[in-house]
Every structure is written in C-alpha cells, then in structure tokens.
C-alpha cells in the first residue's frame, strides 16, 4: 500500500514531540511490511533517515516553471531530491504561481519551523502539496497535525483519495481552553474533510468529539510509542557533580505544560527537604515568569533554568536526574516521560496527559494537586525501594511500547477506510 504523508517536523531537526512521533510511526508502519510511504516535510536538511520512507521537501517542489538543466538541478538540490523527481514534479505544475516569491528553481522557500508568518507558510505548504499529489501515485493521504490539514484536503480534492488526519494535539490543549479561532477553523475543516481521524489518546479523542463536533465513529485512538534508544544514548556520560537528588522538568515552558505547578511543588518539597535540586530545562513564553516565581518563593538557589536542550543533551540531562516530572495541564500524549523511563528515571505525570492512559509504572497526580506532586517527589527521593521499583519495572514496561504495534493499528485503519 502506498501512503502519502504530510508532516511538519522530522528528526533530527525537531522542535517538539510531533517530529519524534511522525518518525516513530512511519518507521513502525514500515516494519509491518508492504508499506511504501512518502513523507512530505517543509524543509529537509539531507541528514534525515530515508531508509524506510521517501522524503520530499516542499522547498524543493517547483510551483513555477523554470528552464533548468539536469546538472544544475543535481548540483543545487541533488542531496535532497533526485533530479528525475524534480522534473516529474515540474510537469505537474497546475497554475501559474510566478506572482509568488520563488527561487531559481521555481520553488518557494520554507523555514520548516514555526515562524510568525506561520499561516502563510501553511498556505504555501498546501500549494506545493497540490503539485506532489498530482505527480505521485498513492492509495491514501495521511496528514499529521493541523499545519498540514489544508494540504491533505487539497490532495484529497484533486485525487479523490481518502484522507486520514492524525491529531497529535488540538488548539484546546495548547491554549488551555481559549482557542485561536483561525487555528480552530483550520483544525475543524480538516476533521470535517477527513475520512478517518486518528488521535494519540482517548483524552484527545474526547476533545475532538466534544469541541469539534465530530462523529465518534470516525475517531480512533492510536497511542504513541517510543523508539528503543541507541546504546550511545543509553550510555551517555553522567555529568552529575553533586550527591543531591535532581528533579527534572523537560519541555517547552508554556501554559500547556503547567510549569508553575512544578515550581510550587518544588517550594513545598524544599520546605522539608534540603538535599534536592530542581531543574526546569527548556524555553518558552512563560520562562521569565517562572524565574520570577521561583525567586518569589525563595528557592532560586535550588531551582535551575539551563535553557533549551537538544539531541544528546536531553539524555545527559535525564541521566543525571532522579525524578522526571511532567505536570502538563493538558497533554494530548506526552512522549517525554517514556523517554525518561527508557533512561531509567522514575516519572511523575499529570493525569491530564494522554500517556497516563497506557503507563502503570509511573506516579500520576492531578496537575493542580501540588501537595500530591510534592509528596510523590519526596517519596521517590527518600524511599530507595520506590525509586528502584519504578525504575526497573518502568524499563520493562516501556520496552513493550513499540511503534510497530501502533503502526499495525494505523494500517488497519487504512484498510478499513479503503474498504479492503
């Protein structure tokens, strides 16, 4: 079966959980066999793992005809796209986009991030998707998250192939219930046009049904999974300098992630315990507020903000931690606790996160229950048996949560949609 997937991020250049999940799922589906997947991303860098999927970058898709020869194309974008594909795509330009800002190859430039003109970039993504959809042969369209829903709808309209959308998050999660109407509109449009909707948790499924008015029969949950860590990452150097216990928060410091509850819980723990430090790694629009809050609570000497961590740094941070905490107010899934468990770090997660639905060897609290959170932190750092139990059983548990199982479920959904 041939699938055309639209995504926004792909490892190693990722900004959040979306890229990790897209990669894992694609790979998991490929492991199930008999899958030919084309994965479209705005801006590839050439170092992506292409062993299990064809990767097409929107920034290499021509939307305006340019008279270029083969060698020139090869020299310009050869490491990102085979020249043959470029010419095939060029043959399928469906309108004159010369009024747009295009480069020497007739392509639109993409940032591949979340720039301030994000809506424009989403629109451009959809334009290039139209060229791709007209060029390639595929059975089904799969759009990851709202950024690519317009592209999915476009592809469906020009080819008549069924559309599956994958809801990794909703605007309700990101905004704590006060959605941006434009984003909400794009999301709802995608859901209406979709033949089937995949959500990453039952929590998200319920949001889709309740807030977007979608027929429950059209929505299926496929929980995320994790890719086993490479030995290199598992054995990263332990940089810990101190004998004190370390409690770590890793993620964007935004309203959705509930960072203030972590600060408050830390203040409670520090009132009774002295041998512990707290780390809030990441960046985001609430970081300054959190630094101020920590100062107000008088715990700044034990509460640290090392900033955004990427790649190997994330695992070094986990390796040096005794507790991982994710107090998200609303987390569609939340892959990071699974990664912490892979590194053998006991986790505390909020009940309002999707991964709480599938994990047992973690401590779950309500995000607002800072007493419970403080108690859980204290328990893990004070009672070695609890640490050991969570660590060992957590490792066993997370080893069972693999992407091929999730991939199998997605393939089953494809078959159902295609009526096979």
């Amino acid at each position: 079966m041939k699938a055309l997937m639209f995504g926004w991020e792909f490892p190693p250049h990722i900004l959040g959980g979306l890229g990790t999940a897209s990669y894992g799922l694609t790979r998991g589906m490929w492991e199930c066999g008999d899958m030919d997947i084309t994965f479209v991303i705005p801006k590839p860098y050439g170092d992506e793992d292409r062993s299990f999927a064809h990767i097409i970058g929107n920034s290499q898709v021509p939307v305006a005809w340019r008279d270029v020869d083969r060698d020139y194309v090869d020299a310009r974008i050869g490491k990102l796209m085979p020249p043959d594909l470029y010419f095939r795509l060029r043959d399928h330009i469906y309108a004159d986009f010369n009024y747009m800002r295009t480069n020497d190859l007739g392509c639109i430039e993409f940032s591949g991030k979340y720039p301030s003109n994000l809506l424009e970039e989403i629109n451009n993504y959809s334009i290039t998707a139209g060229v791709i959809a007209r060029t390639l042969d595929f059975d089904i369209i799969h759009s990851h998250d709202w950024l690519t829903y317009p592209a999915g709808i476009h592809a469906k309209q020009v080819t008549g192939k069924p559309l599956v959308i994958h809801v990794h998050a909703t605007e309700y999660d990101r905004s704590r219930g006060k959605p941006n109407p434009t984003v909400y509109g794009i999301e709802r449009d995608g859901m209406i046009h979709a033949d089937h909707i995949i959500t990453v948790s039952n929590l998200t499924r319920q949001t889709v049904i309740d807030h977007y008015g979608v027929d429950p029969a059209k929505v299926t949950t496929v929980h995320n999974a994790v890719v086993p860590l490479s030995p290199e990452l598992l054995n990263v150097e332990n940089l810990r300098q101190t004998k004190e216990k370390i409690v770590t928060f890793l993620g964007r410091i935004t309203m959705q992630k509930g960072p203030e509850y972590f600060v408050e819980a830390a203040a409670k723990v520090l009132r009774n315990c002295s041998n512990v430090r707290f780390v809030m790694a990441g960046s985001g629009d609430m970081m300054d507020k959190m630094i101020q809050l920590a100062a107000e609570r008088g715990i700044s000497d034990r509460f640290h903000f090392p900033g955004f961590q990427k790649g190997k740094q994330v695992y070094e941070m986990l390796k040096a931690s005794d507790v991982y905490i994710m107090p998200s107010v609303s987390e569609p899934f939340g892959i990071s606790p699974l990664e912490a468990m892979q590194m053998g770090v006991p986790s505390i997660i909020s009940k309002q996160s999707g991964c709480a639905e599938i994990l047992t060897n973690v401590i779950k609290t309500d995000y607002w229950d800072i007493d419970a959170m403080a108690d859980a932190i204290h328990a893990i750092i004070t009672y070695p048996a609890l640490y050991k139990q969570l660590r060992e059983d957590g490792l066993k548990e997370v080893a069972q949560i693999t992407w091929d199982k999730a991939g199998r479920k997605v393939i089953d959904i494809y078959n159902k949609v295609l009526g096979r």
């Binding site: 409670k268 009132r271 009774n272 047992t360 060897n361 401590i363 779950k364 007493d371 419970a372 403080a374 108690d375 859980a376 204290h378 328990a379 004070t382 009672y383 070695p384 048996a385 609890l386 050991k388 139990q389 969570l390 059983d393």
Partner: protein
C-alpha cells in the same frame, strides 16, 4: 462419617488517611476514621450481621447439630466496638449457643510470624485475651493471618497452648495427598494441622456468583453432592472462608445466605455432619506428618507470601516496620504501641502489590507505598523520641541483651561475691594470725626501714636547692 469444618474469618484493618510528607513530625494520627467507619459499617450490614444471623438460625433450626468456628482479628473487634456494637452482641449470642468455636489469630492480622516470633506470640496473646475477657474461653485452635503456616512456628504454637492450627491446602505441599484429613506438624508432633480444601472453599468464595462458571448456579444440594462424592475415608472437609464472602463479595441477592442456610438440611440427608476444629483435632486420628519449610498462605495460585512481600516496595516497608519492633516493645507509650499494631495489618502491604493489584483504597500501589512510608517516617521519629537518639540499633540490642541477661548475671556475680567474701574472711583471719606471729618474731627489723625513708627525701631536696643556686 464425613464432616464439614467451617471457619469464618472476620478482619478489618485501620486504613490510613492520606498522609503527606509535610505531615511528618507534625501530625501523629494516621487513620482515616471516616473511611474506616464507612467501610466497616457497610460490610457489617451487608455481610457480617446477616451472616451471623444466618448462622444463628442454622444452629437454632438444627437444635445445636450444626456447628462452626469463627476467627475475629483484634483490629476488627476494636472497630466493631466503635462502629457496630450490635455485631458484637450477635457474636455473644453465637457463643452462647455453644456451637461456635472462636479461634485465635494475630491481633493485627499482620505478618509478624515471618520475622519476629516474640511479636507473633504477643499478637496471639492479645487476641486470646480478648476472647477470654469477652467470652470467657481459652482458645485451643489458632489460625494465622491469611492461613500462613510453616514448620518454624509449630513449636511456638504448642508452647502457647494450642492443639491445632488451620492452614491452606497448598497444592505444592500436598502433592498427591488430600487436604481432607488431619495431619500433625512435622516440627511439633503435638500440633494438629487442618488444611483448607481449596477447591470446595473457592467454589463458594470465588465462583459462587460467576455466571460464566459451568457449574453456575451453585446450589446447596449440588455442593453437598460434591462433598459426599469425596472418597469414603476422607473424614473432614475444611471450608475456610472470609466472612465477607457472604453478602459483600457475593451480594445478598445472589442467594448466598439461602445457600448457606440450606447446607445442613442436605448434609444430614446424606449423613454428613458438621464439626468444629477442636472437635476435629480431638476426635479424628491424624494420618501423617506434614512438613512445610517455606511459609504457605491462602493467597493466590502460588499460595505463598508474595501477595504481601512480592516486590521491593513491600519488602522495604515491611523491613522498616519490624526494625522498630524491639524498641516499641521496650517503651511504655500506649499510643505508640497501638499505632504499631495498626500498622502491622497485612492489608497495608497488600495495597502495594504491583503484580495483581486487588481491592485497595489507593489508586496505585505506589501511592500506597508512599503514604505508608510517610506514616512510618513519623512513627519512627516518635519511637526514637522514646529512646536517646544516640543509641544505635546494635547498641540498643546489646543493651537489651544485657538487661535481659542481667538477672542471671547478678545471680552469678552474687555467688561469686559470696564466695569471695568467704575467702576474704578466711584470709583476714589467717592474716591476723600471721601478723600476730610476725609482730612477735620481727619487731627489730621494721624500725630501721622507717628511719631510712625520710633521709632520702631530705637528700633530694638539698640536691635541687644546690642546682638552683648554681644557675
């Protein structure tokens, strides 16, 4: 003749309240009175009271021919006193019929038998004293927590005056043997062992209300048929059940009370009698010895202690609790002793079970562990306050050993002292005699010696004075 030996277990733990780590050192009351009252009264009204009333009716209808045994934990007794005294009156009435035997068991329904024989003896004695005070009886049969039993405790049970013990008919112990006989304990032949018939007990306890069970519905007629179908020479069918089985595990509307009530009629029709454990131990001849090296219990397929001590959380909590046992016994603080008993209930450890979590007031085993350890941390602090903190555990043990041995030591020392005194006296007498002789013999020699000493001192002083003047 075949007989059914019924034993009904009644136990309710004191469940802990949500105890946060910031309560440690501040709040010394650990129990959730509202929850405990709620559960105890509910279970009493759904189960214990109607079950006891049913037993009472069975005894009256059969004019004393029906008999059974009941075991009540100390913690349950205490909670009934607070919340459902009418149940205690029912137990009194059951006792007065003379057809119900009360069996001793650990006061806390805890696991002390596994680690601390002294605590175990105290626990059994505490329940025995309740039975003595309430019913004026001296229990002769003992049933350990969850039917836990192993060879090591048998001699102790004999020493405590018990004639028989109830335990699980664990498959891996019995092998080809049948539980439907009386056995003797290998390590203490005086002690008779009654083993639960697992199949026939669980037919009621686990399967009675199970509609997917091929033998559903279970009727008294059918049940007695199964018992009658056991081999002729099997004389005793031990059916040991939790009292909650009736009315709580299987609600009253499943007809379980009527099932129970109908049993004697069908039993007598087929010549099957009922027997109490004491009667069984006295009347039925044991067929052989049974040896159990590792503790067995009624819990789970494994019939071992892994339901309470199967993971590292449980073991940690358990070890930390019993590390306090010695100190608690030595102190005289009543509140501390009470809390120690309440904390020993095996239920607390069962809530930490990660493999097959059963009923628990906690959401997860980790929450159960955290809560318990927080309580224990506060408890430890209180125990420490009773003793000077600089005394380490080992030091304390050696001190305790000294205290315990001091009687014997004082005695030996006294003896030694007495003999020394005698010899000293003798020596003195001899010495006086000798002195007298010496004084007579050498009066001249002593005089010059005395004169020499002062001379030397004088010489020393003059030498020092000389040196000073030279400088």
């Amino acid at each position: 003749m075949k007989a059914i030996c019924f034993n009904f277990e009644i136990h309710q733990p004191f469940r802990l309240k949500r105890y946060r780590f910031f309560d440690i050192g501040k709040d010394h009351y650990y129990f959730d009175d509202f929850l405990n009252e709620d559960i105890v009264t509910r279970v009493a009204h759904n189960s214990y009271i109607p079950a006891c009333e049913t037993l009472l009716r069975m005894i009256e209808q059969n004019e004393g021919r029906f008999c059974c045994s009941i075991a009540v934990s100390g913690l349950a007794f205490e909670q009934f006193e607070h919340y459902v005294p009418e149940l205690l009156e029912l137990l009194d009435r059951l006792h007065k019929t003379g057809c119900v035997e009360f069996v001793a068991q650990p006061f806390s329904y805890g696991l002390s038998s596994l680690v601390d024989s002294e605590e175990f003896a105290a626990q059994i004695a505490a329940t025995a004293s309740i039975l003595r005070n309430r019913f004026g009886i001296e229990p002769k049969i003992v049933r350990n927590t969850e039917l836990i039993y192993f060879d090591d405790i048998a001699p102790q049970l004999v020493e405590l005056g018990f004639k028989g013990v109830l335990t699980e008919g664990a498959k891996h112990i019995l092998g080809w043997k049948s539980p439907d006989y009386v056995y003797t304990a290998a390590s203490a032949p005086k002690l008779k062992v009654l083993m639960r018939n697992r199949k026939l007990s669980n037919d009621i306890a686990e399967r009675f209300g199970d509609t997917s069970w091929p033998d559903f519905p279970l009727t008294a007629d059918k049940y007695i048929d199964w018992i009658a179908a056991t081999p002729q020479d099997e004389q005793i069918i031990n059916v040991f059940l939790n009292m909650e089985t009736f009315g709580d595990l299987h609600p009253g509307n499943t007809g379980i009370f009527q099932f129970l009530e109908a049993l004697p009629r069908f039993a007598y029709e087929r010549g099957i009698e009922f027997i109490t454990p004491s009667q069984a131990v006295a009347k039925i001849k044991p067929v052989g010895e049974i040896s159990i090296n590792h503790p067995i219990s009624s819990a789970g397929e494994e019939s071992d202690t892994s339901a309470w001590l199967g993971n590292s959380l449980q073991n940690e909590a358990f070890d930390k609790l019993y590390a306090q046992a010695e100190r608690v016994r030595e102190c005289s603080n009543r509140a501390l002793k009470r809390d120690f008993q309440y904390l020993q209930a095996c239920d607390h450890f069962f809530y930490m079970n990660t493999r097959n979590p059963g009923f628990s007031p906690y959401e997860t085993p980790f929450a159960a562990f955290t809560n318990y350890m927080n309580v224990l941390a506060d408890f430890e602090m209180r125990v420490k306050e009773e003793f000077p903190s600089q005394i380490g555990n080992e030091e304390l043990n050696s001190l305790l050993l000294t205290i315990r041995n001091q009687g014997a030591e004082i005695e030996t020392l006294n003896k030694e002292l007495a003999s020394m005194r005698k010899s000293v006296e003798q020596y003195n007498i001899e010495h006086v005699k000798r002195d007298e002789l010496k004084a007579k013999a050498e009066p001249a020699e002593k005089a010059p010696k005395k004169a020499k000493a002062p001379k030397k001192a004088v010489a020393g002083k003059t030498a020092a004075a000389k040196k000073k003047s030279e400088k």
